[in-house]
Amino acid sequence: MALNMGRTISIDPITRLEGHGKIDIFLDDHGEVERAYLQVPELRGFEKFAEGRPAEDMPQITSRICGVCPTAHHMASTKALDDLYKVEPPPAGRKIRELVYSVFYVEDHALHFFFLGGPDFVVGPGAPKAERNILGVLGKVGLEIGKEVIGLRKELRALMTLASGKPIHPVFGLPGGVAKALNSADQEKFISAAEHAVKFGQFALGIFNDVVLKNPKYVESILSDAYTHKTYYMGVVDAQNKVNFYDGDIRVTSPGGGEYMKFKAQDYLKHVAEHVEPWSYIKFCYLKDVGWNGFADGPHSGVYCVAPLARLNAADGMATPLAQKAYEQFFSTLGGKPVHHTPANHWARLIELLYAAERMRELANDPDIINPNVRTIPTEIPHEGVGVVEAPRGTLFHHYETDDRGVITKANLIVATQNNAARIAMSVDKAARGVIKNGNVDDGILNLVEMAFRAYDPCHGCATHALPGQMPLIISVYNQNHELLKEIRRDG
């Protein structure tokens, strides 16, 4: 198959990346799906690497582990340090953190929708392969939107640099607050960018309304049984049970929709456990209180779900007016709470984008934001600290134990995709069963299976980057004797 160097490269399995999207499908002797597995690699050695390092270095170190959501790791880590030193940031310190975090959310969610959800829901799942990408999306919604996304991203990145030191790997979070106050000139820039972001959020939801919701076929595919799982949902909520990305209690709602429990970050080990399977490196999180009952739906299975759809299901609403309206429309359109359809994540993500933009506007206009008192100096002797945030891809826990000098003796991270791992595995399996009949597998079918996990925006193992051009999704189909029948690669 090696026709030239480029071709050779693109058909090589890139083991690290292969794991990001390697799906093994086993067929029975009738050519029906016996079981489909999504394989993921996991970065190893974090715990060992962290041991012996000063806890105060963790916000910088953990944000460097992952080039995809460094701000989420930085924030969870900084909050774990607050808890470690038992110190509460002053209002300005807390609000600057949440402001920066909201900026990060707008940027991340905007990118995700247009590049990732767009190909499925703007271009359409049945479109030819060559069009199911950002270029196809722009072809449909207009080039101006591409410029708008890139332009907004640039503006937001500049703000992140202003507030957090470096745009990629923020360095501003310290136990008890932040390193740098904002002045009124900075504030003006945040206010103006926030206005821009709110408009963008409304505009993006408008596109979703026009292109997706007005197309019955797309709505049907969101509601498809192949993409539906009735699980528990987890998300961080504020005191009014509204979605909050930066801080609050962790709320879990049941498959029926009611509150199942609510707990503090510090108690996560009492409620979240990890199940190990021989075929996967990833540990599958489940609710301890319910128990592990296999990869199953329903109230008797401890499988739960995080990320945008889960956050909307786990909360009673959004804390800002425009997002709240969109939240109400979401549930009324999709048949009430909770919504169990995985592809609805794309819509939920846009509602969250609008919320992040509105929250950014509120915080930017808050007089406290330019108060120079941005840090409370820690005085307690450290022992143990847990921090939680909602990363764009779901609930993220950082947990450190230290000696009296603040040197790490034990570290544990639960990343978003781990929380979601069991449900993602179920989604891939169910989608494969739903679309593969009589051993028939082609590119369109591959895309339908892929859609099942793409909606989660999985970010496995917090890997950092990929050689440009080297991101194959590999689907291997095996017969009843586990012999390879067919391999399809998503690499051009």
């Binding site: 160097m5 083991t15 080039g67 892929e450 793409r454 950092t464 440009p468 051009g469 194959p472 999704l473």
Partner: protein, 157 residues
């Protein structure tokens, strides 16, 4: 003539450091209108790094399991087929190139990719393998030749 040297990878993750370390060596060796960037970014975020440069070298680790660790492979961005990335974080170079062109972003006319076969890409805090570290001088030489060649072309143009 503005040339970008982009070392991709993660210094904290074993052999994934090779692009970063190579870029660091090159920074000390090259002069002229050259920008050397070390980055762990990927996908669409790279557009901003490429923008404004006429030519670019990308250095990265890959793990195919089909070549001896330390094997250096070199190819042009046009050699890479189009990729529909399962995630925007992993958008391929061809996709980025096409997007940059459509959006009229000032993108390099030529991108040379140097890929080094790695052994360990998953151990946080892991050391770079000796077989991978050993090829850095050779890789540095090849990139210096490439860059000087571009610079000469520019002078004679």
């Amino acid at each position: 003539m503005s040339i970008l040297i982009l070392g991709l990878g993660n210094e904290l993750i074993a052999d994934d450091a090779v692009g970063i370390l190579t870029a660091r060596h090159l920074r000390a060796l090259l002069d002229g209108d050259i920008e050397v960037i070390e980055s762990d970014l990927s996908g669409i975020a790279l557009i901003e790094l490429f923008a404004g440069h006429e030519r670019a070298v990308v250095i990265d680790a890959i793990h195919t399991g089909q070549h001896t660790p330390g094997t250096i492979r070199e190819f042009d961005s046009t050699d890479l087929g189009p990729v529909l990335s399962p995630s925007p974080h992993y958008s391929g170079l061809p996709e980025i190139l096409a997007l940059a062109r459509q959006l009229e972003v000032d993108f390099p006319s030529e991108v040379r990719v140097f890929a080094v076969e790695a052994m360990d890409m998953t151990t946080i805090g892991g050391q770079i393998s000796a077989t991978v570290a050993d090829v850095i001088p050779q890789l540095v030489d090849r990139i210096v030749l490439q860059v000087r060649d571009w610079q000469r072309q520019k002078i004679h143009a």
